[in-house]
Subunit: 811 residues, 2 copies
Amino acid sequence: MANITKKVSWSSRTDESGAAGEGTPLLNGSEQSRLTRQLSGGGTIFQIGRLSTVDLEEEITTEEDSARGRLKEIPHNEKLLSLKYESLDYDNIENQLFLEEERRMSFMSFRCLEISRWVVCGLIGFLTGLIACFIDIVVEQLAGIKYRVIKENIVKFTEAGGLSISLILWAVLNSSFVMLGAIIVAFFEPIAAGSGIPQIKCYLNGVKIPRVVRLKTLVVKVCGVICSVVGGLAVGKEGPMIHSGAVVAAGVSQGRSTSLKRDFKIFEYFRRDTEKRDFVSAGAAAGVSAAFGAPVGGVLFSLEEGASFWNQMLTWRIFFASMISTFTLNFFLSIYNKKPGELSNPGLINFGRFDSEKMEYNLYEIPLFIAMGALGGILGALFNVLNYWLTIFRIRYVHRPCLQVMEAMLVAAVTATVAFTMIYFSDDCQPLGPDHTEEYPLQLFCADGEYNSMATAFFNTPERSVRSLFHNQPGTYNPLTLGLFTLTYFFLACWTYGLSVSAGVFIPSLLIGAAWGRLCGILLASITSTNSVGTQQDLSVPVQTTWADPGKYALIGAAAQLGGIVRMTLSLTVIMVEATGNVTYGLPIMLVLMTAKIVGDYFQEGLYDIHIKLQSVPFLHWDAPATSHWLTAREVMSSPVTCLNRIEKVGTIVDTLSNTSTNHNGFPVVVQVSDSDEPAKLCGLILRSQLIVLLKHKVFVELAQSRLTQRKLQLKDFRDAYPRFPPIQSIHVSQDERECMMDLTEFMNPTPYTVPQDTSLPRVFKLFRALGLRHLVVVDDNRVVGLVTRKDLARYHLGKHGLEELHLAQT
Amino acid sequence: MANITKKVSWSSRTDESGAAGEGTPLLNGSEQSRLTRQLSGGGTIFQIGRLSTVDLEEEITTEEDSARGRLKEIPHNEKLLSLKYESLDYDNIENQLFLEEERRMSFMSFRCLEISRWVVCGLIGFLTGLIACFIDIVVEQLAGIKYRVIKENIVKFTEAGGLSISLILWAVLNSSFVMLGAIIVAFFEPIAAGSGIPQIKCYLNGVKIPRVVRLKTLVVKVCGVICSVVGGLAVGKEGPMIHSGAVVAAGVSQGRSTSLKRDFKIFEYFRRDTEKRDFVSAGAAAGVSAAFGAPVGGVLFSLEEGASFWNQMLTWRIFFASMISTFTLNFFLSIYNKKPGELSNPGLINFGRFDSEKMEYNLYEIPLFIAMGALGGILGALFNVLNYWLTIFRIRYVHRPCLQVMEAMLVAAVTATVAFTMIYFSDDCQPLGPDHTEEYPLQLFCADGEYNSMATAFFNTPERSVRSLFHNQPGTYNPLTLGLFTLTYFFLACWTYGLSVSAGVFIPSLLIGAAWGRLCGILLASITSTNSVGTQQDLSVPVQTTWADPGKYALIGAAAQLGGIVRMTLSLTVIMVEATGNVTYGLPIMLVLMTAKIVGDYFQEGLYDIHIKLQSVPFLHWDAPATSHWLTAREVMSSPVTCLNRIEKVGTIVDTLSNTSTNHNGFPVVVQVSDSDEPAKLCGLILRSQLIVLLKHKVFVELAQSRLTQRKLQLKDFRDAYPRFPPIQSIHVSQDERECMMDLTEFMNPTPYTVPQDTSLPRVFKLFRALGLRHLVVVDDNRVVGLVTRKDLARYHLGKHGLEELHLAQT
């Protein structure tokens, strides 16, 4: 089980992470660790025992036993919490070096820093916009070529017979594009699969997902998304833009690229997790902004899905990045469309212009909208449940890259086949209007001057199909076409999400929703208009469209379906409003999204949360579980904690870091009071990464005395090593050096946040979440008794039967 | 000086607050306190001394001397920090009672609580919408009557001569309305003056502004705003809606009204600062939403101006309240307008429909927009500077209620006179179109079938004037009219803001901006169209309107001016976009607001911040000042701290609470270790309000033993006393009882957040702000050495010469 999971997880390159040695801290609850945790107590490592009553100990033993029993038969891994994910340090490490630097800085330097933050955000927006533009143009060109080739082929064979050749051509073209996309994703960068939104959510939450913000990931993502959209899968190119924006942000803000081995020596101040996170939020917002032409929606997305601490200045910078991103995309697309300077074409997806006069809504439609929202919630939950089962299936059986590529190709071929079959058997012919929005109308078996209506939905990029559903004249689609389309596309999209290709779920969701929404509109109109309903002809005649405009219902349906799947409310409302360019629908869209969320949450979580859970990511939600006041820091914390002395022997440090069974990442630093019988007092906290840098630079007390000329270690040395600190194995320490001493005073964080043992879990949680902590020291009268990390908190969640505890696993 | 300030401050009822005894904690930096702080050390109160080096002591002494010198000649009070403002407790007091209650609650109870939160938010939205509706209808009716009366009068006297009688009528009518409004505000509830936005900002920031969320304030506010708008002042009714929403929220969520002496015994769980704050944010958002028809803007306003900790669920509830509010207003207004069910009329101010086809913008207009943004920033800063001087003048000389009423009446009369003069001397006649939007067209000296253009701007409610400026045909106003109007209205609005009437600054700002924006548009069009510019006739001919549509520039100007005055960006962008109902202008409005903010901030702060500063409110900004890494908790904290024993003598507690010179609000609770030579250890924190309740219920150890039947004190007793805890003076403690002991164990917060002395100010600040703390205990090895409160942090701010320290004052 464990091995299988590893293969398809977000951080599947076990070899790399293994070699990197950025291992995992072991916490209580993990059975294995408990057995091996008892260090031999060599040197001066303090083993501060667990302080608890006898009752508690007993309880824990019972838990352990049952856990051991359960571990063997865990059906799938959302009941586990992976130990392989590191945390990010969203709390500044205010050690002496840092404080000295800050104190040296004048007011002007802070001004300059602030300006450079704005510049970086501008750059992020600009580059994200450019990438969006690139994807859009390439997809449009390639898809244009593909559809033209197939259309010619179909036209050729419609009369001559032998349309199966067209089908094969279509399927082969699709599969080859998808194969390309799947190969680069599966073999080169598995983390680039999917929309990337769950990963960015985790990153902003404070979980380090390996390689998620690397340049290579970006390249694979961009190429992958082009291939999968051109390959005709039921996917969108909007989700991946968010991931792309985040990568751009992480790259630009660091002023260097490790992949390209270039260091521009700029923005060195920003080389730490806190600053990087801020830029990544801006990048994600810029991505949303570029994808939907929704700068405000982008900001809200970043805030709703990511940030926990709201800062006005940061928000404005994020907003600025979003604006620049939309603006850039707009500008370059306007040049591409040969209307330079016309900025009314924002976003990769453009819902087209909704005319507010024609499409007003009335009070009595509100209940209808709410009902549609509920339907969207149910359908969304169904989608999520199906996708959840599918994902578990994939985790178990489809874990080898070549299998993943084959599955992707299969889906591509099936999509083409289904589409072709649907078009082939559809007899829904519509007259070609003078102002039709169809790019590639297929005549097929229709009369001259008519086109196949099913083909407008299937034989098109999903973005265009959505727009047709929103804006085509009433009567363009007949109910049967829409119903069949919804049904097939629903399952196709569900199958597609989670494939090893870069692709988003936004557009397919919108498309499904638009289809059944339009269907609702048509049915409503037909029910209310005349009593002589029945024949298909009646339904498609554009007579009774005064109030139930199908386009309006398509929009509502789209919102409902998307809301039911991803369960965002505020940001999604704004995104939809900005994408439609019309505020009139704000209120109904809100109602619909809210209903969809409430209904959907009743059955199943949102799609992104499901995938985060299935990866066993230690994700911290907004609040501690409601009924967790029972728990206190004493029960939650990991103990015993490996502490270091303020002046510690090098050998001890090396041994502690090398101990693979207990590779913690943060070590409380303690100082022994002269009175030797008293326990040691907490005086700081030091990180593994800092110790590694110290060892690498051999900052030993003895050496400092002998080699006086030696340069003092600076913050720059830590920044240069960030974020890929070498593993302890790569650092050679001689036997002589092992006897040296290291003075940690300057490098440790002298003021770590602490809580007493009796602090309740919600209180610990709030502190942890609000400040973005990585380690929280639990003290009893200033003696270290435990350490709370992200995994200790993420373990507890509200299940169906109240508070549940997840198991920790090394997968 | 101190007395004068007291008179016009937000909490001017010194008698009441004095009697309430919820006095002010004395902190270091305040000279007076320093002299009287040395308690006689009676009983077991611990006086834990200031731990610092000799250098520091010396520094402080010097500071003190200079402070003493400066205190005498402080010109105005924004260099002071008032000690009379209490903090709110946005951190839950997790004492044993609370934890026991939480632990007793089942999962279902939490569900019910969550549902009742939603219900409360719905109610808040509904009531806020109703109030907005009420204000709107009453204002419209009364203003209608007023303008019709005056118009008839003017028509009567235009031919007959003697228009001065009309002027007098107009001035008298205005003055009497304004007098009414000013009297209720000045004499009954001074806190209801102004827009209330600064007060709500402070409340959400954690400052307790006395009486700001009471029912009486709401009543005065609503009546006051009606009077001042009908009285023809240059004010809007939008700002006060935000305050009204907040009061509604505070009232509804508590399930009782102290003013009405009704307790509905519901929502008792919400009777604490944390929960109340969340509802007040929702109320403020609902207010914005009702005022501008901008639900998303409302949410963003609440977040941008208020909340520091972002919580997804909370945001959704706020959003829900906003939606309901707009919806309610919409619905009732549609009934009032005799189009029931038509929901396209959101908000008190409706910018009218912007047609996107006609009003597209082009790339080369962007620099123009940015320039207008800069102009808006400069004009806004000018407005703020003038208003700042005026406010200081008012603080010094216009502090008696009757003087305030007279000033308000004077402004009303002057406004009428100026308007009349402008209209009288204007020769800008325009033909009456068939589709004119003017409600009360004045013919005056114009030919038949024409009307006076100046009158559309002045002889109208400001909302209608804004709409005319946005939408009237090009050529409706000539440049001279607009220029004169801008000039006069600018000064009138500036004079009006800060009067003792309930009124907002949003609409006047929009109006000024719309006027000069439209002027810019006309001038631009005339410059670029023909070379033969010069005569006035040319300018007003609607020929060259293809690109420089004056309505578009009016909108941009309005955004620029408003942004320049209030300095909001994200929320204001969304509000403007939602109010125009068109997303097309999103990008230009953002750019304009951002520019206006940057330019304006260069000169002067935003209007609300100025007024907050002038009230010496200890307002915590988002971050600690950039260059404050020099400071540590040791320098910042107040010390010595009055500590209480865990089992403390009643007499000591009463004495401590009664000591008016040191009326702290939070007391660290310590426990003496058996080893008597060691200093006492921190074991909790208890609030003044809790001690008062304990004393009131005589929870003494001795009594509990003698009277076994006595009911145990419950959380309910604290909730019943919340938020108006009686003063210590009202509690009678007999001499016998003084000898009793009180056990604080159950009631104190056993896990207060603590920091070590060396923690840097930014770190302390972040902890304080992120968690909404009121007291932060500074410890050295678990011994209390100091206490950091809001005022200790708010003292430091970035001035022109780097970090500055404000002085604390009892005003």
